[in-house]
């Protein structure tokens, strides 16, 4: 049985069931484990010796929160992260996560930094963590991200995307061709329909789905090794050009 790729609706439903009164997880818990998995994926592929400077690009939703958690853990691992969050989320949790990064002396670009300044930061970064849009993304890409995504794409730096590469449709992938094409992908909980044809290194994180829920949704998750928080999925040959 191969792993299940989730529709946007199913991803939403699983997320809700994890956090409702039956699932009993708090957003703080899930975000902590998800962000840790993202940081570990990046660290697994891009060593801090060769790729110390990580630009963590965060969106305004929960995926931006995962990005902030990942930035903090990357700081703990010895990387030098810089956070770019041009449209900060309004939830209290993002403010707390941001403060935790501030306490780590992790730099955050001003939200209204001009694109030239972002371009310059891009040029002095070694690897990019794309935590802009997640499984609740619905196109089209709006400002300021309509200008940001092309800059990330053309920077020529390795990119690790979280869950859904930003700009991709959650189910149809990068059909529109406006999305970021990452080198590495870390899917959370289970991969989404849109990344079926992704051909780079693909990891899975979010080791918190109870067996009963996995069976209910027929996720067929792979076994995580030992006590790791991530597992690498077999690479696909891809059925369509990205």
């Amino acid at each position: 049985m191969s792993i299940r790729y989730l529709t946007a609706k199913l991803a939403q439903q699983i997320d809700e069931e994890l956090m409702n009164s039956a699932g009993a997880f708090s957003l703080d818990q899930l975000m902590e484990l998800a962000g840790l998995a993202c940081a570990q994926t990046l660290a697994k592929v891009y060593s801090k010796e060769k790729y110390p400077r990580v630009l963590v690009c965060c969106g305004p939703g929960n995926q931006g929160g995962d990005g902030l958690v990942a930035a903090r853990h990357l700081g703990m691992f010895g990387y030098e992260p810089t956070i770019y969050m041009p449209k900060p989320g309004s939830k209290d949790i993002y403010k707390r996560l941001q403060k935790q990064c501030d306490n780590m002396k992790i730099k955050t670009m001003p939200p209204d930094a001009p694109l030239d300044s972002f371009r310059s930061t891009l040029s002095s970064t070694d690897v990019i963590l794309d935590a802009i849009f997640g499984f609740s993304f619905k196109g089209p890409v709006r400002a300021p991200f309509d200008a940001v995504l092309p800059l990330i794409s053309s920077a020529g730096k390795p990119i690790v995307s979280v869950d859904i590469p930003s700009g991709w449709d959650v189910e149809k992938g990068n059909e529109a061709g406006v999305g970021i094409v990452p080198d590495v992908l870390v899917s959370l909980t289970a991969p989404k329909e849109g990344v079926r044809s992704f051909t780079g290194r693909h990891f899975l994180g979010g080791r918190f789905v109870p067996k009963a829920m996995e069976e209910k949704f027929e996720l067929n998750l792979p076994e995580y090794p030992g006590f790791d928080q991530i597992v690498e999925l077999p690479q696909t040959e891809g059925t369509q050009k990205l």
Copy 2:
């Protein structure tokens, strides 16, 4: 510079500073990372192939919460944990953590299980995780734990203790001789004064202390390897018989 051993007062202060408005961490976050570190420590020393059945003994305070988180992660790692929490904590977070374990089909003994039943569970377990008392423990050991600790001690099973072996004074250690003497210890954030003379394998978890806080309190923490959540401390020869 060697690692600093904390007094009870200092441990309390650091805990508070991590979670006040300046530190900005939530209890959910810290407990998740602490419990994960406990589970990883146990898994590092006792393989699930040889030691599948883990009895997780939880106290009524925050360390019991760490234990519940650890039990869940151990279940995720493929162990068969059983939870013993004879005096369940009243905070809402413990109820949520317990529910998460229930959802994993992790067995919890009834809080009022007779000691004979606990004795029988002890005899059919492979390793014990002692998450009963933490750094806010003040003796003497009261019921029901005054009866529970000797049963754990005399069970002849390997024991992993969290932070402070249960029954030990946070600063004076096992002077009174009523405490559990574990094979493995996982200290959280930084080790406490009372465990200076501990001679077993000693790990450190809680990779969330910002550098500025580490410097302020002169903790001299060791470097964690790679992206691990635990680091093993050098074994001491011990200055007093435990």
